[in-house]
Structures are given as structure tokens and as C-alpha cells.
Symmetry: C2
Subunit: 214 residues, 2 copies
């Protein structure tokens, strides 16, 4: 549980591998960072219950008992990754420009969300599926962060209605669900090479104007 506090800005869970010869001066990853990254990768691939501490140790090239010098228990890793996912999505909204129209903000929010899914696919998968294996103090915190995120998306919708960019009679609850459906379903079809901004902009007119012929 305690290790959750160790997440610094940027969460350090972006990638578990060093870049190739084109990138220069990338600092070495500490074992603690590699542990987080490998845990995200394995939890995403095999699931939390399908990944053993021994699997993690093998991935790091150390003995499994050594894992416990970094964490107190396996669930620490799940809590850390799930909350890092929440941080990633929140941060993506935080850095949105605020001198633009509400509808434009909403468009950029879709871009931002799909971008996080694409750039942190492992973390996003844990954020979507594995969080439910969290036990209660961490689980409650996670659920609160997720609800807060949904509220922030809803607020963007409300603002765009107030400004007249979206229909005044819009079914906000379901419009938010529609937005989140598209945004979260991205994990199924996005691969590391996907251009998230391009995809978001391709979905945007579908959402805005619909699929109908009129």
C-alpha cells in the first residue's frame, strides 16, 4: 500500500524499455521503475491474478524474494498502476488550454483521452479492467478518481451546452456515456503505432453530426 506514494510526476510507467540508437542520453531505469513498468505490462497481458511475483522477478532478472525490498505486497503494484492510470487521464485534462471554446475543449479532451490510451496502453488496460481486484482502501480511492474524471467530462459537456455549441435538449448523461464508450473502447483497437489525434478527429464528426443522412 505504502509504495503508491512513490509515484512522481509523469508516473514513470510510460515504457519499460530503453530506446534504440536514435535516442541519446536516456537515464538508466532504476529497478523500482522497471518493476512498475513490468508489472503494468504483465498485468495488462496476463491479468493481475494471472501474474505471479515469480513472473515479475523473472522479467527483472532477480529472485522473487528481492521484489519485497521494493513493495510490501503484490497489491501495492496494482494500486500504484491503477492510480497512475487515473493520474494520466486527469493530467491530460489539466494541460488542456483554457482560452478556447467549450466545444473545442471537448474535442481536445477526446484527443487527450485516446492519446493516454495509446501512449500508456498497459496502464490504461489496468485502469480499465484490473482495478476491480483492488481491496478496499485503495479501491475506494480509485473509484473516487474515476468518478471525478467522469464528472470533469460531464462538466465539459455542460459548458458546451451553455455556450450553445451542443443542443440545449441534449441527453447529457448518455452523451457522456457515448463519449466515454468511444474513448475507453480504444484499448481494443489501438496499437502502439496509432495516431491518437488523427483517430479522435476522425470520430469527432461522427459524434457531432451523427451517422444519419440528413
Amino acid at each position: 500500500m505504502g509504495s503508491v506514494d512513490r509515484i512522481a510526476g509523469g508516473s514513470g510507467l510510460e515504457s519499460s524499455e530503453q530506446r534504440g540508437p536514435t535516442a541519446t542520453m536516456v537515464p538508466p531505469m532504476t529497478t523500482r521503475h522497471r518493476l512498475s513498468a513490468e508489472a503494468a505490462r504483465l498485468f495488462a497481458e496476463r491479468g493481475y491474478h494471472g501474474t505471479s511475483i515469480g513472473d515479475l522477478a523473472d522479467a527483472l532478472g532477480i529472485r522473487k524474494a528481492s521484489i519485497y525490498s521494493h513493495i510490501e505486497g503484490k497489491e501495492d503494484l496494482l494500486a500504484e498502476i491503477a492510480l497512475a492510470g487515473a493520474s494520466g487521464f486527469h493530467l491530460a485534462l489539466d494541460v488542456l488550454p483554457d482560452d478556447i471554446e467549450p466545444l473545442e475543449r471537448l474535442r481536445l479532451a477526446l484527443r487527450a483521452h485516446l492519446n493516454v490510451v495509446d501512449r500508456q496502453l498497459d496502464v490504461a488496460k489496468v485502469w480499465l479492467h484490473e482495478w476491480r481486484y483492488l481491496a478496499d482502501p485503495a479501491r475506494e480511492r480509485f473509484v473516487a478518481e474515476r468518478r471525478r474524471y467522469e464528472r470533469r467530462i460531464r462538466d465539459l459537456f455542460e459548458a458546451a451546452i451553455s455556450s450553445g455549441d451542443l443542443r440545449a435538449d441534449l441527453d447529457v448523461k448518455r452523451a457522456v456515456l457515448l463519449f466515454l464508450s468511444v474513448a475507453n473502447w480504444g484499448y481494443t483497437w489501438m496499437t502502439p503505432g496509432t495516431d491518437a489525434a488523427r483517430e479522435a478527429d476522425a470520430f469527432w464528426p461522427l459524434l457531432l453530426d451523427g451517422i444519419g443522412s440528413r
Copy 2:
């Protein structure tokens, strides 16, 4: 593996509980049926790797060794449930009336999909998430069924474009993805009491006409 063939029409996975005093003459559930239903329930709740054969035995009130008189291995159950999910979604499309306009068929397809999610929530969750723990002969069959389902939805879109009900310049690939996003994301917000047809009809104008103000 072999037990997959035992799925009859309707799959028998609808519910693990007998009805209350209002329903009459409901035939007793065999242990084999209860095993499937409990497995779907537990796999949906705790995940495939988070559910032990002992958990299943406890849920049925028998010893875990007795489970093996019904299945050859734990994965049989996963294959059976995942493929029962595929059957459920396909069947829902099969029974759609074919003397109606393409766009109306598409609307009913959304109803049908959300209805399956609602009525077989446990099976739908396994169909969405747990299938990936399937090993290869069963996994390939599952993936083929899933692709076939997506193709059927795509065909409905193509037909509705041909008939002029949907825009001729529609981005079909992403429109299908939008449809499936909404349909599949339903598992997160639907509860046993949800009116699936009502929900589908509430999402429909959002999809058709969009959320924009024009």
C-alpha cells in the same frame, strides 16, 4: 475442451437461481447447468484466474474432485462460456425481422446487443474480458466468432448506406467501432434491472443525429 459441444439452444447460462413463488413449473437445474452458471458468475466477478476449482465446488456444495466428472479441465468452462456469449450475440441478430428497412434493422441490432448484455451480464463480461485467457484451439474459434459478429454489424451499416438511410460518405469502419463501443461499454453501467430497449432507443438519436446543435 470437449464439454463445449454440450451447449444446447439457449445455452442454459441465463441464470443460476430458481425463480421465486410467482413462477411455476420451472424444471430443476442439473448440476452441469449450475456449474456453467456459477462459473460464468464467478469468472465475471473474480476473473478466470481469480476463481479456483475449489471456489466452484463450494458454490455448488460439492467437493472439488467431483467437478472433474463434468469437465476435463478448468479451461473447458472458460471456452464454453466465451462461446456461449458469442452464440448469444449471433442469435440476437439471427432473430431480427428481415422485412424491415436497413436502418430499422440497425436500430434493432443495437437493442438486441444491449439486451444480451443486460440479460446475460455474466456471460457478456466473460465474452468481453476473460476470453483472452483461452489457449489456442479454443481461442482461435472464439476470435473467429467475434470477427464474424463484427462483420455482420458492418454489413448492416453497408446495407443502410446503400438504401440511403445513412450518409453515402460515411466512415464505415469508425461508425462500426462507434456502434460496438456503445454496445459493449454497456456492461459497465447496466444492472439486471435496466430496460435495454429503452436505453438503446435513447442512444439511437445521439448516434443518428449527433450531439451538435445544428
